[in-house]
Symmetry: C2
Subunit: 463 residues, 2 copies
């Protein structure tokens, strides 16, 4: 593993002036039983202006938008954050607003390990976690830890493009990997495995500009991929892993949606969403490791970087996340219970969106196909232009149609690593049901979307 | 200014797939009056588990450690954070827990400008601010924005050494500037101006290893310097500024203590601290710009970096900081009022520490001298070793004495940029009164400290 860590990251040394060892003591030295500190520049918590924080927590998503009042028993346990907490699983104000440990305040750091052990224990022992300042921030560190200037990284050809800025910042080069979005082909894993395997086997010939520089990493969003919504099967992941072993690259798995697995679309679950899963059933079908977790050596190197670049993540955020989970939800299983409820609302919203897409004239006329996602919050609508269409031009024009109809969607081509490379496969739009206020809003947005497509096609692909 | 920005920082480009323009619309296009969004990947706030947050705020530091109960009228205004706030100066949950603006959530971003205008308005118009993820994180960005690989940066020879890791990470080289700690010389500004001026005038001869690479930046802690506690006078700052203009370098001012100005030590204010200053009197004697503020072009470049490396700072932190200030303290002046109270407790604690140092036998025997700080939380104790002493060896031994007596202090030499360069001037210890629980603890710690010095000297500098 060590040989894949960037030279930049390996060269960093952390040495704090306040660190101290008891090596080299003179003869007769006895440590004092109760030393006092004039050394640490950590203001006493008496100087912190906040005395206590009370948090009220929903027991289910959108609870406060429901007309009926929630009964007392259904209300959550109050979350009370005091200056000093008696319960060792809670982070108190004196700890949370103070300088703290770079990998995370111990209570929350422990939680990140506990949930991984519960949800998807790694099959090796030398793993570690670190709390980041947020998903994007953590990703930048994952890029930094592996990629040196001139290194090459593979990505799904359509992806979360802000990652490209982190790659550019590391001086590395992104190389897109073909996706197969023809769902009729039966490939539901997204990545065109043949293409990838062949590319790696014949790297120097196929990528002469990167001759002798085979990829050091593969950045992938394996569940509910952004933007396509595709999810790799367990079997497919194993095949990618085997490629990584053969060609000696690391897999950087970005996993914002892995916990939000979705059952297949069912029209009958339009109003209610799918029934709540039992936790054990959910966990059995739960695939994904999280970006927080990795080989110990990698995480240690990230923590070294953190200690110079960001220090510890926001204490108030850590207090809130940890204590809401511990005090209100009761720890790992309670938190997973909340995720199951989230997941159910996501599935219902997905059903609403898909129902209105499927019911539309545009769909019945086969102007588009779509991908029913197995995780996450994105639905890809694949526009079926006639052969020979100037896809780039027509996508732009269709986007204007959507604007005129009053519905915002993201063009697939806009999320391409290299639009020229991906032109043939870029004729899709990313739709998400996550930001809408209500199911009615999703219905109306779907209506606008399908009406725009319909009119566009019926006018002969003209505005 | 632009020519001093690093090539690395200048080369960054931010381009988000969700950014959109209305250029190039086809004929007949009319924007929709009320577009719906299937594009933004921003989950609706109904999915956020937090319903509301109530914060109780102290009206003065250490309030909750006082025996008498606080009267109702003295209690602070309740801080209530709801899903949607009616008051536009408050950040609500729907905004604060959502993706937000990289330079800071608008309300808090505005506050950072308001307090700068109130406390020390810059004398030019093209200034801007950005909220960082914390002081250390902001500093790393300030280093990144100016220093390329191979660049040189000046620092006070004793300084906040974690900055060296950020400098190393940028591939730049730190060059220490001599400080004058002989307070009997009457120089209270710290920096040896003659040395610095001469160094810059004769750079190529004096620093042949950096020939042709004059410093691009000077990193300085101008108020309550860490570790020395020294504060540059306004006049001295102007002299440094003139040097910067002459030799074309930027001043990176790190200002964690600038608001915590301290009056001179007064034995009569041992129990009470100095009387609370009137706000206007305080502001008139207030020197320092803050690390948050800088030339617009610099801040824009930092924000570009932020948008790839950290994104926006923690939303929960921004909610708490902004709303506690707005709702409880009533904005800029109320917040400065809190700082005045902090300052008063700091001054009292400083008085307690100095009183017990001055009263000690070790001081009366002239085993040490000390610097009474005009700002911040550090007191330097300058150990007066006889001429010819092996300072490095004796400092280490004396540190063991402190450990045996049960008092932690930081050796000046440990905070040197280059211990060899600073050996002659490194015979001091940094003491801080900030972390202690009580005045009694400071008293006891001072007693242990002076007793250790006393015994060490009386034993002929032996353990």
């Amino acid at each position: 593993m060590s040989h894949l860590i960037s030279r930049r990251a390996q060269s960093r040394i952390v040495n704090h002036f306040a660190s101290d060892t008891l090596k080299g003591a003179p003869e007769g030295f006895k440590p004092h039983p109760k030393p006092l500190h004039l050394d640490y520049g950590t203001p006493n918590e008496g100087f912190f202006p906040i005395k206590s924080i009370h948090v009220t927590v929903k027991q289910k998503p959108f609870e406060d938008q429901e007309p009926e009042s929630v009964s007392e028993s259904a209300k959550g346990k109050p979350v009370v954050i005091e200056n000093r907490a008696a319960d060792p699983s809670l982070i108190d104000i004196a700890t949370g607003l103070q300088y703290s440990d770079v990998p995370g305040i111990p209570q929350l750091h422990k939680f990140t390990k506990d949930i991984i052990v519960r949800a998807h224990p790694p099959k090796y022992n030398d793993w570690e976690t670190t709390v980041s300042c947020g998903a994007g921030e953590g990703l930048n560190k994952a890029i930094d830890v592996f990629l040196d200037e001139g290194d090459v990284v593979l990505l799904e050809e359509f992806t979360y493009t802000p990652i490209l800025q982190a790659i550019q910042n590391a001086g590395a080069f992104p190389v897109p990997v073909r996706l197969d979005l023809e769902i009729s082909s039966g490939n539901i894993d997204g990545i065109d495995f043949q293409y990838l395997s062949n590319l790696l086997d014949n790297w120097d010939e196929l990528k002469p500009e990167f001759k002798g520089r085979k990829p050091k990493a593969f950045y992938t969003i394996a569940s509910g991929q952004n933007p396509t919504g595709l999810t790799q099967s367990l079997n497919f992941r194993k095949k990618i892993y085997a490629l990584a072993e053969k060609h000696d690259f690391v897999i950087i798995e970005d996993d914002p949606y892995g916990y939000l697995t979705l059952p297949p679309y069912k029209e009958s679950e339009l109003k209610t969403g799918p029934p709540l899963l039992e936790l054990e059933d959910y966990l059995q079908n739960h695939l994904t490791p999280s970006v927080l977790v990795g080989h110990k050596k990698v995480i240690e190197t990230i923590v070294t970087y953190s200690s110079l670049v960001t220090r510890f993540p926001s204490g108030t955020s850590q207090i809130l996340v940890n204590n809401v989970i511990e005090q209100n939800f009761g720890g790992v299983d309670g938190w997973l219970g909340w995720i199951l409820k989230l997941r159910s609302v996501y599935a219902r919203r997905r059903n609403v969106l898909l129902f209105h897409l499927y019911e539309s004239n545009a769909y019945k006329e086969r102007y588009f196909d779509l991908i029913d996602p197995r995780a996450g919050m994105f639905v890809s609508v694949l526009v079926k232009f006639p052969k020979g269409t100037d896809v780039s031009e027509k996508l732009t024009l269709l986007q204007w149609k959507f604007r005129a109809y009053g519905v915002g969607v993201v063009s697939g081509l806009k999320m391409a690593v290299d639009p020229n490379f991906s032109l043939e496969r870029g004729a899709f739009f990313r739709l998400t049901f996550a930001p809408a206020e209500t199911d009615e809003e999703i219905t109306e947005a779907a209506f606008r979307f399908t009406s725009a497509v319909n009119e566009f096609f019926q006018k002969g692909l003209q505005f």
